[in-house]
């Protein structure tokens, strides 16, 4: 599964100890890194066939 590859990659990324996190407001770069790690988490659960998933999401109108 595609998701597992991401899990492994993340583990490798985390192996080298990081330097101390910045104390001040996060820079744009730090924010990107935070989003990237969220994305890796989400990769594991995202619908594998996005196109057919989106096509299949059909609702009747409501209020």
């Amino acid at each position: 599964m595609a998701g597992q590859e991401h899990v492994q990659r993340r583990r490798e990324d985390e192996e080298p100890p990081e330097s101390a996190p910045p104390a001040a407001a996060p820079s744009a770069q730090a924010r990107d890194a935070e989003v990237d790690s969220l994305l890796e988490e989400i990769d594991e659960v995202l619908e594998s066939n996005a196109e057919s998933f989106v096509r299949g999401f059909v609702q009747k109108g409501g209020q």
Partner: protein, 548 residues
């Protein structure tokens, strides 16, 4: 106040599945799950005279008033009696608000409405039922925005448990529920807010004062949406799920030509004292702060309007915010991710949405300081402080609100994906993320993944939400409704927002207990009484002075 949520519903792999039947299955599954021992709740609606009445609504709607008489000492005819003792129905609310006037052109309704219209009243005072082609959770009445969040979240949990129940029951379809408002193909389904408002406030004053607020509050209440146009004709991202479906300023409709301010006048309470403001413009939000601010700021503005009844000067600043073209501005604001668009006011000024919101905040604060002795309660003070802070940070850089404002949280994730994988806005992976964002299952829903990663702010304790799945709020009539359902479930024949109908063995007629005052029926008011009554018969005896 309270929130009604229509959930998006899908049977994976079967897009052609009948959504009304699926919704009914969802509601029935939950009803079966919470049914007490020995109670065949699965078929409940088939045995419930009220549900029968709904099935034959046209002939028997008129019988409801006599069946559900306001006078508990006066015998009501049984559900099987022919109509003929109808008393004045004027001003009386129908029991099932969800199936009232559904102005829909869907032939399937006829077949479906009859046995399939599952509905259940939960022990937390909520109603979980099928509205149109969606399962709908209508939260119990609460008195503050934080409690609103708790019982709204409880509704997500109800939806989740229904999904789980179906997944674990062989022979029943697997269903996934989504707490969103659009399918990206033209359909929209609502998340409605209800607020109790003093009847003495003139509706035109109320509507005029609210419109600029409602047009602009989406900057912090919007859930975010991939796709522009009702059917997502153009690629892109916008702030609100609902914006493209708002087509009128003020009106009665909720399913077409949806208005900014809805005029449905169905107070579910004593109509001489209150109205129920029914807002249909809002998005379903999962971020707790978004929901809390939506309820809290709207409620603060309504407070202002009520105060202005005796002090019209308090509304002067707000009155000057009237927009030249409110309906068009709903869409403009929704598409302005930089929050720099200037709305044109009737007086010619041009203000950003943030400035309009700031003007409301200032007006509320000014009114509070003008009213001698009106110190805001702690929660109101917290709402105003957060409102202020969010407006400031949105002006500085919206991403600073990524933990609190849903569209910002969603956009941040989508932009991250676009950057990493070089995706254009028309890439289906982004549309898929938008949908999956609101999947109620924690293992699949993207909001839930963010929550687990501590990327969004929690406002309420999950244990409190878990309790609220079964427990009603203590400080409104929902306490009575929910507790009666929990304690005497088998003898509850029907309930509505403002009544409970009991079927007591041995009594010749059904017994109706009106709840016209939303503030009566609280734990302080009836808690001891309900504890003392072992069954519905005792309760009826205690509530009926002339009997026994």
């Amino acid at each position: 106040m309270g929130i009604e949520t229509e959930f998006g519903i899908v049977e994976p792999g079967r897009p052609q599945a009948n959504p009304m039947l699926l919704s009914s299955t969802v509601v029935s599954a939950y009803a079966a799950l919470v049914a007490g021992p020995g109670r065949a709740r699965w078929d409940y609606e088939d045995e419930d005279p009220l549900a029968d009445a709904r099935g034959f609504r046209l002939q028997r709607a008129a019988a409801h008033p006599s069946l559900l008489t306001d006078d508990p000492t006066r015998p009501a005819p049984s559900g099987d009696d022919p109509v003929g003792t109808v008393d004045d129905a004027a001003g009386r609310d129908e029991v099932p608000p969800q199936l009232g006037a559904t102005h829909r052109e869907r032939p399937a309704v006829e077949e479906y409405d009859d046995p399939g219209a599952a509905t259940t009243i939960l022990s937390n005072g909520a109603r979980f039922y099928v509205d149109h082609a969606h399962p709908e959770y209508s939260s119990p009445e609460v008195t503050g925005p934080r409690a609103g969040v708790v019982w709204d979240k409880a509704g997500e949990e109800v939806a989740l448990r229904a999904v789980r129940a179906l997944a674990s029951t062989p022979g029943l379809p697997d269903v996934v529920l989504y707490k969103n408002n659009v399918d990206g193909k033209g359909a929209s389904y609502g998340t409605h807010e209800n607020y109790l408002v003093d009847r003495a406030v003139r509706f035109d004053v109320l509507a005029a004062a609210l419109i600029p607020f409602l047009v602009t509050r989406q900057v912090f209440t919007g859930a975010g949406r991939v796709g522009l146009g009702q059917a997502g004709q153009a690629a892109g991202f916008q702030i609100s799920q609902r914006a493209d479906y708002i087509e009128a300023e003020v009106g009665l409709e909720t399913t077409l030509r949806r208005p900014i301010v809805n005029t449905r006048d169905e107070p579910h309470a004593d109509r001489t004292r209150w109205r129920r403001l029914h807002l249909i413009i809002g998005d379903a939000t999962l971020l707790e702060v978004s929901t809390w601010l939506r309820l809290g700021t709207t409620s603060a503005v309504l407070w202002l309007v009520e105060q202005a009844r005796t002090r019209p000067d308090l509304l002067a600043a707000v009155g000057a915010l009237a927009l030249a073209d409110p309906v068009a501005e709903v869409r403009e604001v929704s598409r302005d991710l930089s929050l720099t668009h200037r709305l044109t006011l009737e007086d010619g000024r041009r203000l950003t949405a943030l400035e309009v919101q700031r003007a409301y905040l200032d007006a509320v604060r000014a009114a509070m300081s003008a009213e001698v002795g009106t110190e805001p309660d702690d929660e109101t003070a917290a709402v105003l402080a957060r409102w202020d802070s969010v407006l400031s940070r949105l002006a500085e850089d919206p991403v600073l609100c990524a933990r609190e404002v849903e569209w910002v949280a969603k956009l941040r994730l989508l932009e991250g994906m676009r950057r990493r994988d070089h995706l254009a806005w028309d890439n289906p992976r982004l549309a898929a993320m938008d949908i999956q964002w609101s999947d109620v299952r924690p293992e699949r829903g993207l909001y839930h993944r963010l929550l687990a990663a501590d990327a969004v702010e929690r406002l309420v304790d999950p244990a409190e939400v878990a309790a609220a799945v079964a427990e009603p709020p203590a400080d409104t009539r929902a306490y009575f409704r929910g507790t009666v359902v929990r304690r005497y479930g088998a003898q509850v024949r029907a309930a509505s927002w403002d009544s409970v109908v009991l079927d007591v063995p041995g009594l010749p007629t059904l017994q109706r207990i009106p709840l016209r005052d939303p503030w009566r029926g609280t734990r302080a008011h009836v808690g001891a009484l309900l504890e003392e009554c072992a069954d519905a018969g005792e309760l009826v005896a205690r509530l009926t002075p002339s009997s026994s």
